[in-house]
């Protein structure tokens, strides 16, 4: 008790989560109705609802109309990753950001790229390869395809100065983004660019974005050796 405030929804959430943690409510157990909890804890039902919504979002409980609220029997670890613009990420580490355009051309998409967009046939798109640097050293190698039907304006942009990453983020908001994470062995070309040993294990972050049903861009970001992706908090 730090004060005489009314209970906030966060107090209610903490109380309920505490009961899950100390096993008053066990995995699979049914919790009382929101209304009963509200009465017990002396707050409005909508305050309990707000707290429960948060616990449900966090994967702690599951709620169903008429079925009630249950402690999740198979808890999942829910990790939230924030992937910023590469420049911002580098600067946040206190390093000097650098950028080099490696390749830019209209090309037919390989099948893998068409597949990321859910297209059945290859299409001509803008293919851009670029290297992001932190303190003069390779940080991320970006292999990107941009849909010219939705982003025709990008052909007028000088990509030797501004990265496609930056331009797209500022000019092409998206409504959907799929992310895919995996590991690859550096081939000779990547190894040279990334100052890595050939065969080194590198983390790849692949992102594909759409506005509505219209593809915008897909990008394969190969990170430097020993790169790690961290989550915020639970």
């Amino acid at each position: 008790m730090t004060s005489a405030h009314r209970s906030s929804w966060q107090d209610i959430r903490d109380t309920l989560q505490g009961r899950v943690l100390d096993r008053t409510y066990r995995p699979g157990d049914k919790l009382p109705r929101d209304e009963d909890i509200a009465e017990e804890l002396g707050c409005a039902r909508s305050t309990v609802q707000r707290a429960m919504q948060d616990l449900a979002d966090a994967g702690v409980v599951e709620r169903k109309r008429k079925g009630g609220t249950h402690v999740r029997p198979d808890p999942v670890t829910r990790a939230v990753l924030d992937i910023p613009i590469t420049r911002v990420e580098v600067e946040a580490k206190g390093a000097v950001y650098g950028y080099q355009l490696v390749h830019q051309a209209r090309e037919m998409t390989p099948l893998s790229v068409a597949a990321s967009f859910g297209l059945s046939a290859p299409e001509e798109m803008l293919h851009v390869e670029a290297l992001h640097l932190a303190d003069q050293r390779a940080y991320v190698f970006e292999d990107r395809w941009v849909n010219l039907e939705s982003c025709a304006e990008i052909e007028a942009v000088d990509l030797t100065r501004d990265s496609a990453n930056e331009w797209l983020v500022r000019n092409k908001p998206y409504s959907r983004c799929d992310v895919r994470l995996y590991a690859v062995n550096a081939d000779d070309r990547i190894a040279e660019r990334m100052e890595a040993m050939p065969g080194a294990a590198l983390l790849v972050i692949e992102r594909t974005t759409w506005l509505g049903d219209v593809p915008i861009t897909t990008v394969r970001s190969v990170t430097r050796p020993n790169y790690q992706l961290l989550t915020q908090k639970a």
Copy 2:
């Protein structure tokens, strides 16, 4: 217009997000006050508040008291990963789950493990290595350390039958979980276990959990070749 319902907070959110997408509100722009938006769109202020909360959670806008609501100038890609129990993950793919205990012993933690927990000195913990299988083939190799001060009961569990993963999830809820993702080259030992080529690039998922300030477990899950981690949706 599909019906004559009152506007829901999701309608309001979609309307506002639409204005961000079509650049009525541009990156950095200030939006009207909640109250004015409520009046314009014909709903209660709390409905706008609910919609705005969702947009702020999604990283679309930033809100500050007195400062108002602004479209985020540096949008981040926010990815949500659900990491289930390995058995559940394998079964969800329609494969048959299998499990083998490889090693179990009390040992002093290496420095890297002590560091994960924020400990300054090594401590004796339970070290468990196990292999998870999907359709008889290696799926995830799990290298785990369990804090015996918080999880003494685990020494009474027959880990040749039930995986530590499963037992902990069901018996040791946590309040904090750090996740770390990176790539490694398979060493000879891992390569043999994972049926991979030595040097193959493998994705590693490292998780460390606490209850309050008390460490529970840290686990390094080395995934099989070509494993991919996907997000839900944006």
